[in-house]
Subunit: 259 residues, 2 copies
């Protein structure tokens, strides 16, 4: 059974994007910007702002991770829903590039925290947050390399691509959710280290950080909702449809998801 | 377009469950049992075990939440994949009952922590973990009531059920993931409160708890993978198929997901 018959692509129709999809995408962007702004407010108002050459270097870490691994990664997943009628290749390149930006920004955030730990003499990689973070980095990198090799680098056959595609989609969503979860763990860690027992006094910093946590979870949920709505998937363009039909005719019996 | 043409149900075939599905379900159960066993080990070896009438009352909270809102809730979501050829109604009742068990066990865990806080004079509901936990409880309860009213209580029309079904599926998955995330936040909180700076010395308790965190994330990921595999959805039984066909013929133009 082909992946399109399994409902992974809707049949070709050059229709405009569903109105509800546009509202949900706008809402996701509002939430994403609120997450970044709240992170900036938290670091600016309660943590002294951001700098590389001082104790403020730590603050580079949460800001970069939120921008790179939450906001940009989330948006990178949404490009196929937003750019519905562009050529598939253009959308793919945008998807891959947004992930490169996300990775570079996250790398700056990673260097910041390791450098800060080194200067302070703190231990590395002992916490659940750090373990999850390293897991996210490794999975993100492997996923990008695999995605590039299968979908952008010419050479992978149509059959190979169709076989790998569902795994790529699932792992992409899972890495994004793990990124959001890791951010929540890091936020909690930063709060408990700094506020200690004051956290239970409903200090303004604690309440703001809790709101940031809920915004993070809401952004993750809305992105996931948009990605999983079957009727919001990107429709096949006319030429992709034709290609897919040709392929089906040629390889009947060798289709990717028959088991 | 009907939900079955969107790939939400596979066409009727009385085939046995795919072999790979069985392996994944077995793996998910191994992970779930490992999560419960590791939680028990952590509480038993490092936290003095469990009792209601003492300071150990707190320990009832993580154990009940892990068993109810993680393991049982996860398994409740899997019943439609496991019981593929039973009558739909039987599977529905099992799905609803497992959620009732999960809710009752989680309620004991909730009472334990509030009672413990009251006896100790601790503040309630100040942390991100507690906010997420209350959100999980409210959503879980609303989702159960809605599910019962639409799918088990006779009266909801076929058309209403088909309209609500995708929302129920998405919200169910989201509540489960939020439960796993909330458990991770609580685990982190319990570690930082108790271990403090010893956490960074790779104390055995910290390492065990980190492993528990990874097991929790892995259980969530495997359950999510099983739920999202399009070709592992429960096939329509012959009589459900016939009913659905009849309905389609009767209500052409009033189908649930046309927009």
């Amino acid at each position: 059974m082909s992946s399109s018959r399994l409902g992974m692509d809707s049949p070709a129709r050059p229709a405009p994007a569903p109105a509800a999809l546009l509202y949900y995408v706008a809402f996701s962007q509002l939430l994403g910007l609120a997450v970044v702004a709240t992170t900036g407010t938290w670091l600016g108002v309660y943590r002294g702002g951001i700098a590389w050459e001082s104790a403020l270097q730590f603050n580079v870490h949460p800001l970069c991770m939120i921008i790179g691994l939450v906001f940009l990664q989330g948006d990178a997943l949404l490009v196929y829903r937003v750019f519905r009628n562009e050529a598939k290749r253009t959308t793919k390149v945008l998807h891959g590039l947004l992930h490169v930006f996300a990775f570079v920004i996250a790398l700056v955030g990673l260097v910041a925290v390791f450098d800060f730990h080194r200067k302070k003499g703190y231990a590395d990689l002992y916490s659940l947050h750090s373990w999850c973070g390293i897991l996210v980095f490794v999975l993100f990198f492997v996923q990008w390399l695999m995605g590039f090799s299968f979908f952008l680098f010419p050479g992978a056959s149509f059959s190979l691509r169709s076989r790998y595609r569902p795994q790529h989609l699932f792992l992409g969503g899972a890495i994004f959710l793990l990124s959001v979860g890791t951010a929540l763990l890091g936020l909690k860690e930063a709060l408990l280290f700094e506020l200690g027992t004051k956290y239970s006094k409903f200090e303004p910093e604690g309440v703001l950080a809790n709101v940031l946590g809920l915004l993070l979870a809401a952004f993750g949920a809305v992105v996931l909702y948009i990605l999983t709505r079957a009727d919001w998937k990107r429709p096949l363009q006319a030429e992709e449809q034709a290609l897919s039909m040709d392929f089906k005719t040629l390889t009947e019996g060798d289709s990717p998801s028959s088991q």
